[in-house]
């Protein structure tokens, strides 16, 4: 509960106007100017470091194979972005598009389903009383502790027995279970859904499911987005799981497809521009989503950090 108060309060603790005088009165104007230069200069250097590789990718995606090696990294060669895009999208009968679609299936559909499960479970843990409740919740917390990469091998062997290896379910099923999401959902439910509102709905004769769907879920929308973003990034990033579970190219997510292309670049350098342009296409929607949904990941990060 502390976590939630902390991060909902932080915007209020923000006003820079009140903070600005800190340390100022004792400085001379020149001294302040110098320190301001140092502080912002260092931040600029850091921003250069974080943005440089992304900008390089952007520029490299516009070059053909010859210019990729012939021109310097940050200089433009002939503009071949459209030709590169066309090659990525049509190579091998458009397998890249298929991978992209698979990634969307695994990440968007998988995370939406998983988030709904988390929110329903977290809501139930917060709002209902049932037997062995805290023991079951302890189990959820135990699940948070288990490193996912470590159970990948037994999961693979079980999946082989169940016949789900090398099917969509091999990645979708594990993505549905997100214990940390359940923990977050309980915290969010405590903070966002007042019990009185639910009582009022019950007095009006609404059933429990209806109360959840019409009242609880809308109130939990910001929490839903935060959990969704977490699980979306996790599954979009999930390379190890895909590598273990899939060997049919048609089922690959973008990650695994790019990995396969990348592994032949040393023998066949013409694959470089495929990997570079393919990476750019995979990254653009993610960056756009992150920029647009800033406030959700921020609240998730702080809630997660102070857990």
């Amino acid at each position: 509960m502390t976590t939630l108060t902390q991060h909902t309060e932080s915007p209020a603790a923000r006003p820079t106007a009140t903070r600005r005088p800190t340390g100022k009165p004792r400085r001379t104007a020149a001294g302040t100017l110098l320190s301001r230069g140092v502080v912002n200069g260092l931040l600029l250097v850091a921003a250069f470091y974080t943005l440089m590789p992304i900008s390089w990718l952007l520029i490299a995606a516009t070059k053909n194979h010859r210019d990729l090696f012939a021109t310097s990294g940050f200089a433009f060669g002939d503009f071949h972005l459209l030709a590169n895009l066309e090659r990525v999208l049509t190579y091998h009968d458009g397998i890249y598009l298929r991978w992209f679609g698979n990634s969307i299936l695994y990440s968007v559909i998988g995370s939406a389903a998983s988030t709904l499960l988390c929110v329903a479970t977290g809501y139930a843990f917060d709002k209902y009383e049932f037997r062995a409740k805290e023991k079951l919740f302890g189990l959820v917390l135990g699940g948070v502790l288990v490193p996912t990469t470590v159970i990948q091998l037994p999961m693979y062997l079980l999946a082989t027995k169940a016949g789900v290896v090398n099917t969509y379910w091999a990645l979708l099923l594990p993505a549905l279970v997100n214990p940390f999401g359940v923990y977050l959902a309980r915290v969010f439910s405590e903070g966002y859904v007042p019990g009185e509102v639910l009582e009022a709905a019950r007095v009006d004769g609404a059933g429990e499911l209806r109360t959840f769907a019409r009242i609880g879920l809308p109130m939990l929308a910001p929490g839903f987005m935060t959990i969704f973003l977490f699980s979306f990034t996790a599954s979009w990033n999930n390379f190890f799981g895909a590598l273990v579970m899939l060997n049919d190219e048609q089922l690959y997510p973008v990650n695994l497809g790019l990995f396969m292309w990348n592994s032949v670049t040393q023998q066949q350098p013409e694959f470089y521009s495929l990997v570079i342009t393919g990476s750019l296409v995979a990254v653009v929607p993610l960056v756009a989503a992150f920029v647009c949904l800033q406030r959700f990941w921020r609240s998730g990060l702080t809630a997660g950090a102070v857990k």
Binding site: L43, C118, F212
Partner: protein, 322 residues
Amino acid sequence: MAAPSAPAVRPAAARAPAPHPPGASPLRRGQRRAAALFIVPFFVLFAVVMAAPIAYAVWMSLFQERSSGLGFGGTERVFAGFGNYAKALSASGFRSSFGHIALYCALYIPVMIGGSLALALLLDSALARAKRFFQLALFLPHAIPGLIASIIWIYLYTPGLSPVLDWIGALGGSWDFYSDDHVLTSLVNLTAWQWTGYNMVIFYAALQAVPREVLEAAVVDGAGAVRTALTIKVPMIASAVVMTVLFTCVGAIQIFTEPKLLNQRGAPSIDTEWSPTLYIWKAGFVQHDYGLAAAASLMLAALGIALSYLVTRLGNRWKAAQ
């Protein structure tokens, strides 16, 4: 913030042996049914994809494949007790993979945590401009999937492709990112690039929660900005820093993608058993020694669980102290 009225009902309901205690109305029963409906799907899936694999790993780790008598009949599974655990622990590959991770952490944690702390303090200082832009710019690498981040940096390490090597060359230097001496730095750079901004956002949020009166008191006492940052702000967010360090360790023992790609590029000192996860991968999927791979997985899991447990314990203690 606790759910009103519900806690008062709980002890009675929990103690009652019959499913319908005297006071239970149809309303309460409806709620219990709803609760079951909400949590059962999650726990069924939880059992399938978490509990079952762990139980299966435990079972598998107790058996070894032995080729049967004459060498004709293929292999048979025999009970080995803790044999696989002993085998993993005595395998030089498995043991040295932990040494690699320790060395990696010794470089990575000071660089990455120090970097994100310094950036958070800079961003928190009254002198910083364009805070939103910097926050976003520094966080952006985290939006790039780890595999793609690794590919980008590996290309930036590749002669002919890399502008970075061009710059070094222009300055009259030379550098081999894959050589034995440099490959650890190259790996640390790759992961630090992905995580510094992420942790900076966490630290920055913690710094924003530092009570302003404390900072004002420091100014009245004549402390400069740097001194305030080091002697007041840093100690006040120490809990966030320690938690982040532990989380980073939990991540570090699982590292796979980055060394896998460096290995694929032919970095000589990153072998196919460099990290514990790579070792498990090789034991399971290359050598098909599932018992060994399961035993190694479980030991790694135990380490991860112990570290994470420490995190939550410390976290709760700090929360209670606040």
